[in-house]
Symmetry: C2
Subunit: 307 residues, 2 copies
């Protein structure tokens, strides 16, 4: 039995745009977020309150949050790497903060020079303050299906990080295949394992399409009862290190799957395809969404492609 | 339980190249087929003995078949639309002939101006002659998951065509999502239904990735016990009607899934990625395989993309 309803967390405004070289104007970010919320996305990852030295693209988080319309019921999230980021997020009135860690010890050491356990422990004051302020707390676990440094990531490592994030009071936990190497069997194995230690309905799947597996992984995770998925309109979020490699799964492609399965999302696919076209043109990149490209071609040429 | 072993029918030399505008040199076709067989593909769709007036790209079928090495155990197939095509295929010593029909009445009427039943009946002498000559006969059913003209295609129509092809003595029958609109649930429904009237182990899934669903559909079909899949190296086989729309699922992406699931295919992924690069460069088109692009970028740049 697949879940009857799914929540999509739209990550294009943050995860998608974060790696863009040219600064994306604040007004464009605001426009994108507003359109996405209007198309029915219930949760939009909108900003990252990280040092502008690290991620200059996200330096305008406060202005973005101040500029957007707040649709009732929509959750606007932001990444908060530390207390300073949290204070800024609180000031900006985000609905949900996102804390993060890797499931790979090699990745953690290489990137932030500390163990997984230490990196999660550092978020303790942030999570505590967020709960006290009445904000939702989401925990995001990268490299959950594979790591660029150590390769295989044991399922037990993912379970361990889930338990640590649960202890911090996370309302929702993301299982992220950051480098897109996961396939359907491993996805199910990991989702089944983490469901045993954290409520299944508050776990999410965040899949990258680098190896073309993301839609299949969504289908695999649905079969394990997962009801929340991350996606990025137009597949925004290319890889800064490798030309041609694709990043986040395109929201359009995930919605096409879910519509076909008769699973309710509340998202309007036509509007979404228009938004994908709008943002792709605005930043001057072709859309990575196959659904977006096919439906736009069909509209333009008046034919159903590929007979 | 997923099948422990899968056969891939590589369709790039025929289905993939058929729609190329510029004539692909006979020597290049031969080279492609030889490399694919060497990489472990057990069945290569190599030619189409159709009138050169209709499909000029395939006019050199006899020369292609005469020029290739014959790897013992590899099945080299060719499309044969009529007795004339069959005679040419027999002369060219193909191992398997392919006959075809649509599961959509609207498609059949619009494209060949006759009913599905009539179109299949026309293949009766071809199938009979092929069996008498000791050749394998494969039946291919297009529009099995959706039609550009009538939209929805009833499952019963697909079952009906399978029964007609079975009556002609087909050894293998392809369920083809020609326009790529099928999603995982419908794939399973159709595969389950046709498995009731034809041996499951001789049914195949032929999925187009136009809407990004093909890998998920392979995974869905595997769960229905399907053990044969069609794929095209580098995703060759774009759509002549719509720029940007993708065609056949890339063999690399399917093999990546199957490797991840621990399913044996006998195909060497590294060789396959090289072949995808070779043919993409030779015809001057970017590869549509995400695995191909990611693994080539990794090799080139020395990094695992998308951390």
């Amino acid at each position: 039995m697949l879940p009857p309803k799914v929540k999509i967390v739209e990550v294009a405004p943050r995860d998608g745009l974060q790696n863009e070289k040219d600064f994306v104007a604040t007004g464009l970010k605001i426009d994108l977020i507003n359109r996405l919320a209007k198309a029915g996305l219930q949760n939009v990852e909108s900003a990252s309150f990280v040092s502008p030295k690290w991620v200059p693209q996200m330096a305008d988080g406060a202005a973005v949050m101040a500029g957007i319309e707040r649709r009732p019921g929509t959750i606007y999230s932001a990444l908060t790497p530390n207390m300073r980021g949290f204070e800024a997020a609180l000031e900006a009135k985000v609905d949900e903060i996102v804390i993060f860690g890797a499931a790979s010890e090699a990745f953690s050491q290489k990137n932030i020079n500390c163990s997984i356990a230490e990196s999660i422990a550092r978020f303790e004051p942030v999570a505590k303050a967020a709960k006290e302020a009445g904000l939702r707390v989401r925990g995001s676990i990268s490299c959950a299906l594979g790591c660029p440094y150590q390769g295989d990531v044991p399922v037990a490592s993912v379970v361990d990080v889930v338990e640590r994030m649960k202890a911090l009071g996370c309302d929702e936990i993301d299982i992220a295949d950051t480098i897109g190497v996961g396939t359907a069997g491993r996805t199910r194995e990991v989702m089944a394992a983490v469901s045993k230690v954290f409520p299944r309905e508050r776990l999410s799947g965040h899949f990258h399409d680098t190896y073309g597996q993301a839609v299949a992984n969504v289908y695999a995770a649905l079969q394990e009862g997962i009801e929340i998925f991350h996606a990025s309109v137009a597949g925004l979020g290319g890889c800064p290190y490798a030309k041609g490699a694709t990043g986040n799964v395109a929201t359009e492609d995930v919605i096409f799957l879910l519509n076909g399965l008769g699973i309710e999302t509340g998202v309007d696919l036509d509007q979404l395809v228009e938004i994908g076209d709008f943002i792709s043109q605005a930043i001057g990149k072709p859309s990575a969404s196959r659904v977006g490209r096919a439906l736009l071609a069909k509209k333009r040429d008046g034919v159903t492609p590929c007979v």
